[in-house]
Symmetry: C2
Subunit: 290 residues, 2 copies
């Protein structure tokens, strides 16, 4: 997919106020980056817990509005971004769509698009455009957030036939302003691609951990550690992501099993050349993004 | 497995000369560490290419003996370590076992033990003890070697019923001197364990890379990069390792497929709780070695 590089740093002076729903790793990193990249923007923050919101506010400074009432947070915001788990976004959208009349655009940072984009677009109208910043780590929460999280990360936008050009441009500029490189694809194509490049590796990392006996875990070397680090991701969040994208994830598991069986066949038949070809191809392919 | 910590740094003044076969990532790191941890040892180095040996010698300094003749390198050495690919070790052992009469012990740094240990023991006698330092990276060659590679790495020793106690002690002290923590297990138990903790993750990383379409590769985030980094390992070396341990690797592939199918079942039946239980269990288990 073609990537559009960022023009970095790039303050967007025309964004007067930004509403962030869910100040976790992603939402928190947007909030922390705001001072650097969107110095003129007023912040409006929604969270489930008032105690957590107070902590976010005290970290960011006094100039932000916090509330556990979604419609209050959306009221008057020029732009709205959902950084909550994917399975809570429709409910939030329903709660804000009347109060958010002044919003020029809505987006989200969810890992699943497809149907969800169509459902959110149905609630919020064509001002909604799906986004997926390919950033994050096995850590979660505002305390792990950092202003640099998006630097050079890829952000996938998933416009539909009804998304207006100015929404595509403005949401794209927002992510570029945070340091992302931008690409666009169809919401369903996104889900197939991300199932393979993100959801399958996550599930596989968990499966690799389960295969190792408890008493053998302490001999693990750096290879095992790297290849299973993402298994430490938040189980609640990943259950939501995997369930939301289940069909594409199930197809990706089949593909992985096919690929493993190709290797198993080579092993069974003592076919060194086929095994080496498979490993060489994978090594060269992976090295293209090293 | 119980780990014995190192007493670090711990010069072994009683090792007068050390023969290293194969100055690649592992052998090279032993050579580079030598000055720090075994300052009194004379080095004897075997490699296939004279040009490479000359480069190794010029990096290390003048005091080492280099040769492409195995028996010449082994002659007079007090200790011998094979750091070559596993499938070349038997041939080397055959070539040195007469000239290496002065050696107090032989070991290797191979990723596969099992039968190979029995075959090497048959050639070299009970002075041979298998070792497997769980260190390394996707990089190869002397240029990637570093004196710190073994710091806190686990090294598995695989004694048999005939290994004398003093060989176990001296080989263990050698690796501890390089910074390793030591554990011991049966050569066949080693192979089952390492199939799961090292060989399977390697094969799976390659399979995960193959599942991603070429044009989707550039949207990969840090999770994909971490979980597939080891797929960039040397294909020739890994073909040798996987072929040598094929039975255990085939069993480990079946185990992984079982584990993936457990997750697939949960997805198919929309069973959030089972999927979350699986992810939670893996996350907690993996966090024990984070």
């Amino acid at each position: 997919l073609p990537l559009h590089g960022q023009n970095f740093p790039r303050p967007l002076s025309n964004l007067s106020s930004l509403a962030v729903f869910g100040p976790g790793l992603i939402g928190g990193s947007i909030l922390r980056a705001r001072g650097k990249f969107f110095p003129g923007s007023k912040l409006r923050i929604w969270g489930r817990s008032h105690a957590n919101l107070e902590q976010v506010k005290s970290t960011l400074g006094d100039e932000c509005f916090i509330s556990t009432d979604p419609s209050e947070v959306a009221a008057g915001a020029e732009a709205v971004i959902f950084c909550t788990p994917v399975d809570s976004m429709e409910e939030l959208a329903e709660k804000i769509h009347t109060s958010a009349s002044s919003a020029r655009w809505f987006t989200d940072a969810g890992s699943v698009k497809g149907d969800l984009v169509l459902r959110l677009e149905k609630i919020l109208g064509p001002r909604y455009l799906g986004s997926h910043p390919m950033a994050g780590s096995e850590k979660t929460g505002f305390s792990s957030a950092s202003a640099g999280l998006f630097t050079n990360a890829v952000c996938i936008l998933t416009p539909t036939g009804t998304t207006p050009p100015e929404v595509r441009r403005e949401v794209g500029e927002f992510w570029q302003g945070l340091g992302c490189r931008i690409t666009e694809c169809d919401p369903f194509q996104h889900d197939e691609m991300v199932a393979r490049v993100s959801h399958l590796p996550h599930l596989t990392a968990a499966a690799l951990v389960e295969v190792v006996a408890d008493e053998a875990l302490n001999v693990a070397g750096p290879g095992f550690r790297d290849s299973t680090r993402i298994a430490m991701g938040d189980p609640e969040m990943w259950t939501g992501i995997l369930m939301e994208n289940r069909d594409a994830v199930l197809r990706s598991i089949e593909k992985l099993e096919d690929s493993l069986q190709t290797a198993a066949e080579a092993l069974r038949h003592n076919d060194r050349q086929s095994l080496k070809n498979l490993l060489s191809h994978a090594a060269q392919k992976r090295a293209r993004i090293s």
